[in-house]
Symmetry: C2
Subunit: 321 residues, 2 copies
């Protein structure tokens, strides 16, 4: 993507993506909990993207990229770097099409995520857990394989694919006052903005971010991209910085970014496990954590939360550590 001018995906790109990927993804269910509604004073709807077969919404964008390749490029396969879920979802999509997938992944990524990538036939090259090491290692891998670079989020095909989630969400709920999604690199938030700015322009898009990796929050307040190298938070899916394409959507369409501390994220995660009875990652708990922290902003509203992923190491749950 580096050498091409920035292409901003459109609502029509999202519709095309949805038609292209529907055979390979699930229309995930929306769950509710009377208990969590009482606790927050809002009417909460949880879109369970953790119920995608490879366990994360990222199968949407990955499938859109993989199934949009021409035959010549498809033969060389795809390549990416990712802290986890994009890696397994791109591997899954590549497996479904029967093409190679090379993945650069931090050596510190959860074992469960590495296992999933390998189960789907992805080939892992490990790097250090920093943005700089990741990008350097990836350049080498990509030069060797010729695989098409599918960036985890700063890719118009990926963003158009992620936008299909918000389309289903609006259909399933008959409308929402706000959608709250976690923000790392901003792929899901950008896809949500892309879809809702046309389909439901009155629905606010709110991003939720870990305090300990709050570069998007600081960027949003500053008006330009601020990136951290190697932030640390329990929400390990949200370590990466915004890029030009996702910054476009965040700066133009996001209403607010709220943050939550790691202990608040863990508390929210446990609440969801206990009352929604779904297995999801710390990253997916950040939206509920920010709603609990800012109750007045949500009270009385119909609020959609995207449970982005469910690949968690069951032997190392944060509240048992």
């Amino acid at each position: 993507m580096k050498d091409t001018p920035m292409y901003i995906p459109t609502f029509e790109d999202m519709l095309e993506a949805h038609a292209r990927i529907q055979p390979y993804i699930r229309r995930t269910p929306v769950r509710t909990s009377d208990y969590l509604n009482e606790l927050t004073g809002a009417e909460l709807f949880f879109k369970c993207e953790n119920f995608q077969e490879p366990g994360a919404f990222k199968v949407r964008g990955a499938s859109n990229a993989v199934f949009g390749l021409d035959e010549e490029q498809a033969a060389k396969g795809v390549a990416t770097h990712s802290s986890g879920n994009h890696a397994s979802c791109l591997s899954y999509a590549a497996m479904k099409r029967g093409i190679p997938c090379n993945v650069v992944m931090p050596r510190t990524a959860p074992q469960a995520k590495k296992d999933t990538v390998r189960r789907y036939g992805g080939k892992i090259t490990e790097c250090e857990p920093s943005t700089s090491s990741r990008e350097e290692t990836f350049a080498r891998v990509q030069a060797e394989t010729g695989g098409d670079f599918v960036h985890p989020y700063n890719d118009h095909r990926v963003i158009a694919g992620q936008g299909t989630c918000a389309r289903e969400f609006i259909e399933q709920t008959d409308g929402l006052d706000a959608v709250v999604a976690p923000i790392g690199g901003g792929g899901m938030i950008s896809g949500t903005c892309l879809t809702l700015s046309t389909l439901a322009p009155d629905t606010q898009v709110i991003a939720a971010e870990p305090e300990q990796a709050d570069d998007a929050y600081r960027s949003f307040k500053a008006g330009y991209i601020i990136a951290d190298d190697a932030p640390k938070t329990i929400a390990d899916g949200l370590l990466v910085p915004l890029k030009d394409l996702t910054w476009h959507f965040v700066s133009n369409h996001v209403s607010e970014i709220y943050t939550a501390s790691d202990p608040e994220i863990i508390d929210a995660m446990k609440l969801i496990w206990k009352h929604l009875r779904v297995v999801m990652e710390p990253s997916s708990a950040v939206p509920l954590a920010t709603i609990l922290k800012n109750p007045d902003a949500f009270k009385g509203k119909r609020v959609g939360l995207i449970i982005t992923g469910g690949n968690v190491d069951l032997d190392r749950l944060p509240w048992t550590l």
Copy 2:
């Protein structure tokens, strides 16, 4: 129930129950996993009764009993004994109708289950963890309160209510070769037999039981009820024995009872948490454990599994103990 002649609930009772309880229960979703299908060689469908608001299928039978009471009895409320989920579900149903609920519960029941009962306004009286102590304590509580005894399973209203789950399951899957459900006292299995013997008579009903509480298996083989006092298994929802009404359905309609060891149950539980990404109890993992143990009985078949409950102590997961 002790002094009334045994009334065998009918298919029409189940239909009436469904109409009565629909405002108070959820039509729970059915989940699938490509991974678990490959692992077993069968096509598996999981009915997520853990997604009921109080976390278990037992809200069906409990709601049928509670909302079927006349006003005079309703004023005195309901009473029961239960190792957990029937207690919380009866409390939930009673709260919805605004009537008292008294519960006798073993002092060893998981804290999460006690918390849930109290959250729904149920009043707990603790007993020793044995069938004999439970029945003795209950007789006292019931005499004091005059609450209508809603037995956890040996009650025609409860069985008719549980049968509504199988009706939804058949509608949601367009038919199944077999339904596998856990068996403790036999309420869910009896309701499943009641519904499927009319609605889908070619669908086998198979019960799954912990080896360490295998009284139903031994009863089934012997041809008469065998009860254990105070069995011990990780599947703490399945400790109670069959009674005359559930024995009627088990002996007449169940095709087979399979058993699984506690380590096999824990392995199956972890597989479901990891690949279906739902939070469920050890008891609910017994069906998958028996399928993994008897693959030839299920290979190539469309098999429904009922995930009966999701109230688990997240601080004491069996694989972290």
